[in-house]
């Protein structure tokens, strides 16, 4: 049994990028105060912007194509599974236009609603649901998403040419 003990430690807590700011990150994510998605994104080591934590704050604005990482917290029978903050972010037309793909976070214990928010966003916006992971992701998830994103943007670029 190999124990990967370089773990957790502390995370700097944040409430997200400054409300109303623009971002040129190609990875945008939402993470609640529990910070699981935040930790996953940090492990990727990629530039990323975080949707503001408080719904009443102004959202942020994507300046270039991006992939969205969104958790699902087991909405009651599938309703209200998309975090309000993410709905607010996606209500902005420019943010929807730049959305190229979705990555879902969740927990298989939530049965049929596992990663449902990402499913819904992918369907509504006509973009691929690229990957799913649980909680803060395993080491393998991190490698797969890093490699997958790199390849994904390469192909996006190629399709534009």
């Amino acid at each position: 049994m190999t124990a990967l003990l370089e773990a957790g430690g502390t995370v700097e807590h944040g409430s997200g990028n400054a409300p109303g700011s623009s971002t040129s990150a190609s990875l945008i994510y939402f993470s609640s105060a529990s910070e699981y998605t935040h930790r996953f994104v940090r492990k990727l080591g990629l530039e990323a912007a975080r949707v503001p934590l408080y719904t009443q704050d102004e959202t942020i604005y994507a300046q270039r194509p991006y992939v969205l990482v969104v958790p699902t917290y087991g909405g009651e029978s599938g309703k209200n599974s998309i975090p309000r903050q993410v709905l607010k972010f996606l209500k902005h037309e420019g943010n929807r236009a730049m959305l190229k793909g979705v990555i879902g976070a969740g927990n298989t214990n939530f049965g049929t609603t596992y990663c449902l928010a990402a499913d819904k966003i992918a369907a509504k916006c006509g973009v691929p649901h690229l990957y799913r992971f649980e909680l803060m992701g395993t080491a393998e998830d991190v490698v797969r998403v890093k490699e997958g994103l790199e390849e994904f943007w390469k192909r996006q670029l190629k399709n534009q040419q």
Binding site: M1, T2, A3, L4, L5, E6, A7, G8, G9, T10, S32, A33, S34, E35, R39, Y73, G74, E76, G78, K79, N80, S81, I82, L87, L90, E93, R96, V102, N107, T108, N109, F110, G111, T112, Y114, C115, L116, D119, K120, I121, A122, A123, K124, C125, G126, V127, P128, H129, L130, Y131, R132, L135, M136, T138, A139, E140, R144, E147, G148, F152
Partner: protein, 324 residues
Amino acid sequence: MTEKVKLLHHVEAINWNRIQDEKDVEVWNRLVNNFWLPEKVPLSNDVQSWATLTPAEQEMTMRVFTGLTLLDTVQGTVGAVSLIPDALTPHEEAVYTNIAFMESVHAKSYSSIFSTLCSTKEIDEAFRWSTENENLQKKAQIIVDYYVGDDPLKKRVASTLLESFLFYSGFYLPMYWSSRAKLTNTADLIRLIIRDEAVHGYYIGYKFQKGLEQVDEARRQELKDYTYELLYELYDNEVQYTHDLYDGVGLAEDVKKFLHYNANKALMNLGYEAMFPSTVTDVNPAILSALSPNADENHDFFSGSGSSYVIGKAVNTEDEDWDF
């Protein structure tokens, strides 16, 4: 148990209009919306299916459920209640009362399953087994010992490991039956329990991490070491318990993968990295699919068909504010 679980010394009226931690409200609402009772699940539809199991399979199934009953009883009457005195906010206390009640609902659900499917004699025999099985008693005792201890953060670790790890040697079996189209209504009920335990483990793990923010680095290291040690201790016992239950039907190795997979998730609920490598967490896809029907769908970037990937398929969107 001779020690008394300590109670709050001082109580103030809880004001839900002044919230210190929004997570308390979010989780309270989630739990209330998830509320269910076993009477709503048509368990009697499983009577015919139950009759197709061999006597050995029936006995194993009842033993699994009495084991789960014991854990839910511990969590309902001791565990969740013991977390109340160390709550960081009054709303956290309220959430624990909700958790405690639901654990009692879970414990009662197994009795509903028993009374629907089995004779009184069989039920009594299964309960006797649960009091006599060493490994089962040991795991309950390890957890109870921490609950009556005086370290609030260690209690939360023990509680999260119970919610997110110790149930799964038992939860495996109804998922297994469900994957073979047996006892499907019972499996529906168990899935409701599994959903609840996920919220409980998530919340108690979150509160553990809030507690960690208030202590120094040395104490954090101590708690991290303690968590992995406790997990190893519980894991060793859990492996033996798994053999006790499943050797007769040759499922023990399959169950162990499920244990590894859930041990990783328990650690993550506490904010720690997964411990078991993916080579031993490859849960039988049929079990994973019984747990979450969309868990086995292909969502690995480009795997499969060359340059294409799956565009999200239409899903009913009932969310408000979703029109744009």
